[in-house]
Symmetry: D2
């Protein structure tokens, strides 16, 4: 369940027909893209836009991803993707996710992804302080 002691972002969107498969449901690989959307939205919301992070000379590479599928979703269902910071360390950042039906709030898929900070030439490095601060605040920009 999404935590109540920190900022949880929410972004809502509709399943695309192209995202379904021959079982008539959203293909399981698509939720990994939804997770990415959820953390992009999270970062934008707290004023830590990922495109700006890239321009600053860093990447957050994905080290690990995990998804647990509980309820299938279908076109043209409207989903809400929740995201929060699960753990912030010197060089790594873990986001957690819930994909829920926007209407019923039923949790359909949950998961997490662990990210490692690297420079553009691929060296693992410390997350820059100002960025770490933004992610640790875990609240909207004004917070």
């Amino acid at each position: 369940m999404a935590p109540t002691d920190r900022f949880v972002s929410e972004t809502t969107f509709r399943v695309r027909y192209a995202e379904t498969d021959a079982m008539g449901i959203v293909h399981h690989s698509v939720y990994i893209v939804y997770f990415e959307e959820a953390r992009s939205h999270y970062s934008r919301t707290i004023g830590a836009d990922y495109a700006e992070f890239e321009r600053d000379g860093y990447y957050l590479t994905v080290g690990e991803v995990h998804a647990r599928y509980m309820v299938p979703t279908r076109y043209p269902q409207v989903l809400t993707a929740r995201c929060w910071v699960d753990e912030l360390k010197s060089r790594t950042l873990t986001f957690a996710y819930e994909i829920v039906d926007a209407e019923t709030q039923q949790v359909c898929v949950s998961g997490y992804s662990r990210h490692v900070c690297i420079t553009h030439d691929g060296q693992v490095c410390k997350i820059p302080d100002d960025w770490a601060k933004r992610w640790s605040q875990g609240g909207p920009e004004s917070g």
Copy 2:
């Protein structure tokens, strides 16, 4: 590391340009599709074609997926996807994977997926005996 006490299937293919992202590497969600290709190939190799499984009235839904990213891959790299049965239970089947560089054999991504057997109307059910046998044999059709 891929086990030596059971059948490990291998399928080799080239990274597609469309699978890369703005970091110049294969997007992390794409490996989940590679995993699926690996297990489809596994099942075909042992004579347990998934399309036939569907025609028999069953689906193997994905309950869980996990990927660990060690080395990025790029277009037009040639990759080998290895797959083996990690665990076979009455109603669930776990496949494990390694995505390796076809030339150097370096392991780039590893992972697993857990599947649950359901009927076409969505009820969880026992994996049919003849199918369980094929997956448990874990060897090529003649094995």
Copy 3:
């Protein structure tokens, strides 16, 4: 250019990172998905939901698709997808599209897709009258 003599739907969304490629831009195949989103939105807006059309026993198969790429788009750009009915015949329906930058309104990609009405067993058929009427009205539900 989008016509002024009929209804033109607009839906706005943000480019996803997963949709970019190693050139740093949105991969050209992705716009075909944006076109589909645009016509799904069009149909929902005029009260002709495609999911309902499928439940009624029909599919609109894609017979042809064309895209012209003028300006590349990038993550995390916000885009507006415009869609209108270009031609409605007894058995076919042609939608036209423009993908524009939501801020500057610059047209980045344009295109069209031609669809053929079929039954669920794959026979080409006349578009049912009530559906043809909805698409020909080319206006919002109350229009």
Copy 4:
């Protein structure tokens, strides 16, 4: 129909489950990726690897793409993607495609894509002579 007066490359692959949609067929946007695979294969076959072209400082941007869908394809069908050079001009290159069932040779989808040569900073430019020669030869490397 594929021409007989020039080199036509062929690459064969299996439909991926992830490429299907809720209609049970390969989603129409996927063929645009197949086209790209076909022309990458074409270029590799004639010794004009696209990755090398990028390293030389150029991109072939996609200016236009067109697909005509005749017969749906399904998982786990094996397809052959044919590609040939339809037209080579000073700054543009047009490839044509056929996606056929590998077994029956039935043409399922045909299409073309028009490409414009640009430098890495986005300026339209003449296709370098040595590359133009390779594409115009339209034959395998030794040809």
